[in-house]
């Protein structure tokens, strides 16, 4: 077993160290630094990618359910919308603010805000419906200043600016890599045409001619949504870069 030992110090060194500690305390009591933000009256300036309250843009949602699948806390439930699609609802009683949903959202429909102080009156209210996530929530703000942490060589300072920080983030849309579905093992195709059935953009077509089934993926029409890749029973379709 390894024994942890304390570094031996001479008496002089000890006295010097004690004196240093007392000196620092005296210095701080006269010219104190402070790390406290007087929260309701001023807010810390949060980074743009703070994992905060979620907002949702239904136009970008492709209803792929990925956010609900990836959610480790099971906070996201998909609910049917009047337009026969499914949109996420977030239960903030369960949400652990890991933002896997935001990371996994392929359409960029879910986005973060800098709102970190969300409070509810009861548990039922914590289930945030899709409609509530679309609109920017109303916030009663008392803050007049925003505070920035400035870390210099040794210490941390607070820099107070007399301006109100906006809490909503404009997310730059993700760079779309054009993908297209391709068959990687033509011999293993069983010809079930499930891919054709699930394809929403009509890119996959088939024709039977004298005992030979011809499968064709129209690379121009294919949107790279990956539904066929997911559904292919032999797992021989892959998304590749266009």
């Amino acid at each position: 077993m390894k024994k942890v030992t304390v570094q031996e110090q001479g008496l002089g060194e000890k006295v010097v160290r004690h004196a240093t500690a007392i000196g620092v305390a005296m210095k701080e009591s006269v010219y104190p630094l402070t790390a406290t933000v007087f929260y309701p009256r001023e807010r810390k300036k949060m980074p743009d990618n703070l994992r905060g309250y979620l907002m949702f843009d239904p136009d970008k949602c492709i209803s792929c359910w990925e956010c609900a699948f990836v959610c480790p806390a099971n906070a996201i439930q998909m609910k049917a919308a009047p337009n026969e699609r499914y949109y996420p609802t977030v239960d903030y009683g369960k949400c652990i603010f890991c933002h896997f949903c935001v990371d996994s959202c392929s359409g960029g429909a879910l986005k973060t805000t800098k709102i970190h102080d969300v409070a509810y009156k009861d548990m039922d209210e914590m289930l945030t419906l899709t409609e509530e996530m679309i609109e920017e929530p109303e916030i009663i703000r008392e803050d007049k200043k925003s505070v920035e942490y400035v870390i210099d060589e040794h210490d941390l300072h607070l820099k107070r600016v007399r301006e109100v920080d906006t809490l909503f983030v404009e997310v730059t849309p993700p760079v779309e890599i054009p993908m297209v579905s391709q068959c990687i093992d033509r011999a293993s195709c069983i010809g079930c045409r499930v891919c054709e059935e699930v394809c929403e953009s009509g890119a996959i077509s088939s024709s039977i001619e004298r005992g030979v089934l011809r499968m064709k993926i129209d690379t121009d029409k294919c949107t790279g949504c990956g539904l066929c890749v997911k559904e292919c029973s032999m797992q021989i379709l892959r998304l590749v870069k266009k």
Partner: protein, 366 residues
């Protein structure tokens, strides 16, 4: 018709008045009003003044009301925090303690069913006896309630009674946390008490008297310069005795909750909460007398006897501030480390201090 002056003289309070030249003329006008002269003479009667105003009740009360705030504010500054802030925030939360005590006052005092009910309720009040009695013997300048040549010994004896009451608190609580805290308190009691007494003894040997006013008068050079080792020992022992942060052994928040007084709530807890401040006040007063020259200092014109009082209070406040700032500088010691400090370094230091005193006395320095 009884002559007021006759009454005053008859009570024997005429010759022993606190003299304040600044307001003396105003006081001289007042006897025209019948009863006022009697009341004023009574208040300015030195023993009564000492017991009631300084260093007695009033000063203690004001200190208890504001010193925890000063401590918290100071520690907050040193630790990059803010301290009490929200209550009267433009004054930095200065009436925080008033708010706290109001809360304590209106909170229910819960006596759980396993506790020994009479003792459980008595001890918080009984503890005030050892906390307040030493104030009778501590002089502020030349104002003292009871003058006796054995004052220091009496103060020591009463201070040594203090832990007994805390043990009583823990015993009456009848809770495992309280028991463990109590036993740790007892351990610490034995660890600091011996060096503490020897350090005071060293100063008594040095001055050749145990009358506090005499000690204060004898310090042409302050005791802290004459015998710094005794001062250091006394200071560390005082920190241990108040069981504040570096030696917060009986009441460790992490393991023992609040130690001996874990079961208390409401005003009973409030009384216990201020106990360590009372003890610290007494010890700081003793330190001011033994090492810092008591009420001696350049006389402030026009204040007369009050000048000594102000110097004394200033010294007490400095000692208290230093004592409480320790918690921000040093991390908390474990029980075994506390004991080894008490029985090892501190005991050796106190013996060296005693030897130093004897050498100084023999060498004719004082």
């Amino acid at each position: 018709m009884i002559d007021i002056n006759t009454v005053i003289t008859g009570l024997g309070i005429a010759g022993n008045q606190v003299s304040i030249p600044l307001v003396q003329q105003m006081l001289d006008l007042l006897p025209e009003i019948p009863m006022v002269k009697l009341i004023i003479s009574f208040i300015l009667w030195k023993p009564f003044f000492a017991a009631l105003i300084c260093p007695g009740f009033t000063t203690l009360g004001i200190l208890l009301l504001f010193f925890p705030w000063i401590e918290r504010k100071l520690c907050g500054r040193i630790q990059w925090r803010v301290g009490p802030h929200e209550i009267v925030w433009w004054l930095g939360g200065i009436i925080q303690l008033l708010a706290d005590s109001l809360r304590f006052l209106f909170q229910e005092v819960i006596v759980h069913k396993d506790a020994h009910r009479p003792y459980f309720l008595q001890f918080p009040f009984l503890t005030f006896i050892p906390a307040l009695l030493p104030l009778m013997f501590i002089p502020a300048g030349n104002i003292v309630a009871i003058e006796t040549p054995y004052a220091i010994q009496i103060i020591l004896a009463i201070i040594c009674l203090f832990p007994l009451f805390i043990l009583g608190l823990g015993w009456a609580s009848n809770s495992r946390f309280a028991f463990i805290g109590t036993v740790r308190e007892a351990f610490m009691y034995f660890a600091y008490e011996v060096p503490f007494i020897i350090a005071v003894l060293a100063m008594i040997v040095l001055y050749g008297t145990s009358d506090p006013v005499g000690i204060a008068n004898k310090q042409t050079i302050w005791g802290i310069i004459l015998n710094p080792i005794a001062a250091l020992t006394f200071f560390i022992a005082a920190a241990m005795a108040t069981s504040r942060m570096p030696f917060e052994i009986p009441e460790a928040d992490q393991e023992l909750a609040a130690g001996p007084h874990v079961e208390y709530s409401g005003i009973a807890f409030g009384l216990i909460y201020v106990l360590c401040y009372e003890k610290a006040y007494v010890l700081a007063g003793l330190m001011a007398i033994l090492f810092l020259g008591g009420g001696s200092g350049p006389a402030i014109a026009g204040l007369g006897d009050l000048s000594g009082v102000i110097w004394f209070l200033l010294k007490v406040v400095i000692v208290l501030t230093t004592l409480f700032a320790l918690r921000t500088i040093y991390p908390r010691y474990r029980l075994d480390q506390g004991l080894s400090i008490g029985w090892g370094a501190l005991l050796s230091l106190s013996l060296i201090a005693l030897a130093l005193s004897i050498v100084l006395v023999q060498g004719g320095v004082i």
